[in-house]
Each structure stands twice: as C-alpha cells, then as structure tokens.
C-alpha cells in the first residue's frame, strides 16, 4: 500500500528549537528493565506520582513504583507478548518494544483502577504454568510453541470467564502497550506528531479513494 507520508516537514532539530523545553526533545527508546523479583501475591507497595508530577521527564517502568514480576513471570509475559503481537514482515513483536515491562508497570501500579487487573493477570499467569504442568511440561514457557498457541486459541474463545478473561485483559494491555510505542503507532498507520510548516489537508490520493474534492478555501 502506498504510504502518503511525504508532507514537507520541519526538520526535527528546528522544531525542537521552537519548543523551549529542552527536556521535551529527549526521546526514549525501548530499554531493558530487569524486573524486581517479589512475592507476586503481595499488594503493591509504591506510591502514585501525585497531582503535580514533572510532565516533561521521560519515565520508564520501575522509575515510579517497584515492579512485580519474578524472572519466571517476566519470561512468561514475554512469550505471551509475542503470541499476541508477533513480528511480521511489516513490524516487530511486542516484546521487542518492551511491552512486557509495561504490563509489569501496569499491574504494579498503586492506583486502585489497576488493582483488579493485577489480581487477574497474576492469577492467569499461575494458571498458564499449571496448565503447562498438566500437559507434562515444567511450566508454560517450557512448552512447544504449538502447544502454547493452542492454549491461547482456546482462551480466546471465552473472553468473559476465567481464564479467558485473563487472556482478554492480557491482550488489552499488550495491544494497548504496543500501539502506544512509536513502532506500534507507525504500524497502525499513524504518521503524525511531526512538526510541519503547513497543513494542507489529506493527500489527493486519499481524497480520490473517497470520492472527495479538495477543499477550495
């Protein structure tokens, strides 16, 4: 598919000079964060960022509150990330963008809205490992890719009850986490967040597809 990403741009350097805030210019690329091992059943111990946080600072999982996943849980979520968003010819996988660490950040959040997600995710991860054992493996990660996929396919059919609702929630977090990274946004077809000297409306090719005339004003 042709990509109409050809609008003249202001050079990023110039644009950033416009933005007086120097810190706004620092990009954050995916980083590996080693998850702290902790008792997964424990309630979260961190505090929120308060009503007046530094909005310009770039944060990464673990900066604001302690993470939850053990090494084993983190490995399991990496596998799930890449079943939910695998690499294809157009874009890389969810784990390549550090989405598993975002999931950890989310379920470790001190805010009450995430607490139920925490319980569901941890319960679901434990269920997956038990299912691995039931099927003769050491845990879920040790299973063959085919066997892992088969379990996920079954879970995807019943999104309203456990453990299917766990899989729905994991999909929600992984997809949301992935498509809010620069790589995921590009894969969706988002081409904005790019300072431009002018905005000329949709490209002619798009208007033609829709049977629309360019605005005359």
């Amino acid at each position: 598919m042709k990509d109409f990403d050809e609008t003249p741009r202001i050079e990023r350097r110039v644009a950033m000079e416009w933005i007086i805030s120097a810190a706004a210019a620092v990009p954050f690329l995916g980083q590996t964060v080693i998850g702290a091992t902790s008792d997964s059943a424990a309630p979260v111990s961190g505090k929120g960022y308060g009503p007046d946080p530094n909005m310009v600072k770039v944060y990464k999982p673990g900066d604001l509150w302690p993470l939850t996943f053990s090494t084993g849980q983190r490995e399991l979520v990496i596998v799930l990330c890449d079943i939910i968003i695998p690499a294809d010819e157009q874009s890389p996988s969810a784990s390549s963008q550090g989405v598993h660490d975002f999931v950890d950040e989310w379920i470790s959040s001190p805010y009450s809205a995430q607490t139920s997600d925490r319980n569901l995710i941890l319960k679901g991860l434990a269920w997956l490992d038990e299912e691995g054992v039931r099927q003769g493996s050491a845990n879920f990660v040790a299973m063959s890719a085919e066997a892992q996929l088969k379990i996920c396919q079954e879970l995807s059919l019943k999104p309203k009850e456990f453990p299917g609702n766990f899989f729905w929630k994991m999909r929600d977090l992984v997809a949301g986490g992935y498509y809010t990274t620069p790589v995921g946004m590009r894969d969706l077809g988002y081409r904005g967040n790019m300072p431009m000297p002018e905005w000329n409306g949709p490209p002619k090719g798009v208007l033609d597809l829709l049977g629309l005339e360019p605005e005359s004003r």
């Binding site: 042709k2 990509d3 109409f4 416009w18 933005i19 007086i20 805030s21 706004a24 960022y49 009503p51 946080p53 909005m55 310009v56 770039v58 944060y59 900066d63 079943i83 939910i84 968003i85 695998p86 294809d88 975002f102 959040s109 009450s112 995430q114 996920c152 995807s156 059919l157 299917g164 899989f167 999909r171 929600d172 997809a175 949301g176 986490g177 498509y179 809010t180 990274t181 620069p182 946004m185 969706l188 077809g189 988002y190 081409r191 904005g192 967040n193 790019m194 300072p195 431009m196 905005w199 000329n200 409306g201 949709p202 798009v206 208007l207 597809l209 829709l210 629309l212 605005e215 004003r217």
Partner: protein
Amino acid sequence: MPVISPKEVQPDYDVVIVGSGAGGGQMAYTLTMNGAKVLVMEAGRIFDPARETAMMHTPDMAPLRAMPTPDKQYGFYDSSVDSGWEIPGEPYTNASKEEKRQFFWWRQRMLGGRTNHWGRVSLRNGPYDFKTKSRQGIGFDWPISYDDLHLYYDKVEMLVGIFGSNEGVENVPHSSPGVLLPPPKMRAGELLTKKFAKKIGIDVVPVHRAILTKQQDADRLPAILHPGNAKAQKILAENMRSRAKCFFATDCHRGCSIGAAYDSATVHLRPALKTGNLDILPNAMVREVTLNKEGKAKGLSYIDKVDGADHHVSAKVVVLAASSQESVRILLNSKSSLFPDGLANSSGKVGKYITDSVSSSFSAQIPALENLPPHNEDGTVGQQAYVPWWLCKEHTAGRLDFSGGYKFIVGSGRRMPKMSSVRGFDRLAGRDGTGFGTDLKEDARRFYGSTVGFGAQGAMAANDDCFSELDPEVKDKWGIPVLRFHWKWSDDELKQIAHQQESMASIFETMGARISRQPETGNPLKVIKDGGKIIHEVGGAIMGDNPKNSVTDQWSRTWDVPNLVLSDGAPFPNTADKNPTLTIMALAWRAADHVLDELKKGNV
C-alpha cells in the same frame, strides 16, 4: 512588578483580581495595559507552559501510557496540575443522592486556570442567545444585546488569535473582516461527513479555535487594539512576535510551549507583567471579600497555602474571576451584618441559575475510511469542523418540541493512538472472542482511524432546580465552607437530547456507518452528560436589569457593592449553544473598560 509572596503585597492596588484564567487574565490585561495597578491572586502555583508542557512525548514516555489516574484525571500529559473533579481536602457536595441529579465540578488550581487544557473552541454567542426569555419564553434575557459585545468579540479574537470562517449561518455572528485567522483544511473523515450531511440539509463548517494557523499581524493589530497607547502597542507587538504559529502536531490539551494555542499566562499575563503594573500572588486561597464601613469592598482575606497563615489584601476594586462556582462560594462565604446571607445577595440570587451545555455524543465506524493509506491527519490536533445549529427557522416557527438549539463538533482522524485505540476492533471484525496474533495486527491496520464521533452541546435556559449553596456542615481543609449543588435536567433539555441523538444518527445513516447502538431517544437521561461534565458551567450570579432578580448589572458589577465585579462565567443568565470562554473574555474586556472609567472618574 512580578510574581510575589504575601510579604511583598503592596498597600495601594487599584484592582485585585481573584483567578488567572480566561476572565481574570483578560481583566488583568486590559486594566494593566491602560495603567491600572493590579494584583492577580491565584489559588494554585505558578505554571509556565513554555517549560512544563510535554508536547511531543509519546504515551510510552509516561507512567501507565499516560492514562488517567486519580492524580491526573485527564491523563498524564493533560496540562493540568493540582486539578481535578476531586481534590484531596477540597470537597464539594450534592444535595441529591440520585445518580442523574449529580453535578460534577472541575477545579483547575494553577496559573492560567482552565485555559491551560481546554479544547480552544471559541464561538461567539449569537443575537438570539442574549434574548432567551423573549424568544423561548423561559429563563432570562441578558441586559445587553449582541451589538453591545460585537466589537469586544472582535478585539478578543484579534488579541487571542482565533481561526475560523464566516459562514452566514443564522444566529452565528460574523467576525469583522481581517479578524479571523484561516481555518485549517478538514480531514478526510470531516470532508466525508460534510458531503453526506449536506444530502440531508445539514452543513458542516470550520469550527473556531484559539490557535494561530498563521502568525498574528504584529504590525497592524496592536494599533487597532490600543489606539493612542504607544506603550501597550509595543508590548503587545512584542508578545505577538514571540508566539509561533501552529506546527500542526500535538494535542492542545497538553498545553502549548510555542504559544500557538492561547492560554492566559502566555497571551494575557505575560504582556500584563511587561507593563510593570501587575503583581501575581500564587498559592493564595481566598476566604472572603471584606467590607469597609460604607459597605464597599475593602479587599480580600486569604490563606497562604505555603504556610497556612491568614493574610489580607486591599484594593479600590475587587474582581472575582475564580470560575463561576468558586466566585459564588466566595460571595456566599463573605457574610457580614450588612449581608447576613452572603455578599451582594440582597436579591437572594447568589448561587441560583447555574446552566451548562446540554450534551450527548454518538460515534460510529465508517467502512469507507477503512484501510486508507497511512497519512498525517494531526492538523490542528482536535476539533476542526462542526455543525452550527441549523434549525433556527423551525424554532421561530414553533415546530420543535424543545426550546434550545445545539451544535455538534465532528471528531475524526488518524489520531495519536492511546491504550483504548484498538479495543473495539474485535466487534468490528465480527469476532466473538479475543483477537490476537496476525489477525489482531491486520484488524488494527484496517480499522485504525476509521471512526467518526459527534459531540453535541446545546443551550440551557436558567431554571429553579439547578443551583449551589453553602453546605451547612462540610468545610475544606482550611475550614472554609464548601458548596452543595442541586441539579435536575428538565424535560425540555431531555427532548433536546433525543433530537441530538436522532440527528447525529441520521447523518451516520447516510454515510453507511456501523453504529454500535441505536440513538437513545426513548430515555435521553441515559446518554445526557452529567451536569458539569462538559466543564461549561456558568451562572450563579447572573446579570440583569433589575437588582431584585439579578446579582450584577450589565457591567458585571454587583448591584449591592459598586466596587465588586465578577469576571468569569458567573454573570451568564444562560448557556448558549456556543462554548462560554470567548464570551467570558469579551465580557471581561467590557467590564474592565467600565472599571477603568470609574477609576478615572474617581467613583471607586
């Protein structure tokens, strides 16, 4: 004169203004540019949009992908700090326990107030909007007409910088030639909506917003805005030159560090400070207006939030611009032997007649917009197109079963994705279960950017059921009594909602859209946005031509206390089918001119 602490408060201000948002900012600007010595008091901290706003950040740079939390209730990057529906230690209450009779109150405790994060939609009230009682038989007429405000709207638009167009729609006034900046081109979804809405007689036109689509004409405008005032012209020209035009990226709700989108600190307070006539006192929580022996306003008592100590400030004129309901609260808490029921309340009308936008929304997925080639649709991120009320003639002929008109904003586009952006795609793809893997990636590419949403906002006339008063028991953390709200939607407003739902759905029908639910016409209470939720609440100290049934005169000056002026939404006798901010600023400029007159004549 700069940002000060309580120790540095001067003894001889001409005017003290409570609040630094659209109304307080415009008041401070007009007064200081014309030589008055002014103190602006702000309950929140100093906030600098140039340094503190995260313009180009992607959600992965924020905690929790920038999703809302109790600490940041519109999301991490929303340009609001120490603000929210609920603020610890600063409660308000509702008289009713019924779910649909609740009022929600957003407080923005920071320099610039709500102007930091609003959507910048800036529409003039039309001539009919000032004559609700005469035209609709309910509510009140304003003591002024559109003609009294026309030139003030022009002035505010030239100062602030508003894009938009004159379209010749009934009750949607034209700006004078050379005032508006060019509107941005519509996005694909907006053009598509325009094409199909036209088929059923509904016009989609460019909206008006406070964003510079080109740089302001600093050689021409200052002389028009400040004739014969060389100092003001020079300061304004410099400020206009310091504001960049929009670079067509990033959401205005994040604030604008380049000055392309209006906020009070950048456009009003910065030049006001340059005059040398303005002091700004942050972290000052006002307790009450104080009186002298003659019953005139002497000043304000306030709490320094930094150390909790009580202080007092005096001025010749006191202006309340704390947001409509916070100003009401200050009046009601200013009790004295002269005003046992609260200041300027001899009419008993302080707190009465709160109105708000009557609002519902509707969104749908448009198959024609699926799988479009990726392209940048940021534009002036946010609203670019709207449907002004198109049935004035039907109203005049009495052919509608509700009294207030409404507009609706058209939202479309390939916006910056957020956590929820792919959530509905299972349903669109016809999956019963949870899509994942290659299926999910294909769904996401296919459906992203293919939804269009309409947000209707309609007129509300004043009624007896919607008001605020002091809660007899609850106090905030400084011991100041808090407001208790009463709210009830009328049948008239619910009928308007049903009409909104039907008309929005009918446009989607012509577009071949896939709707997720039927328009809610049977029980509009289900879809009406709760009172306060649109953050357009006004009234509570309405202006009128009679001291018996209104709180202020046409200059927003209280009938009872001649040197006490209201400069926010409190004096609005009704809500129009237009957003209130531009009218707040036009009224503030007009009220400021009157205050300057009175100062010159020595009347205050």
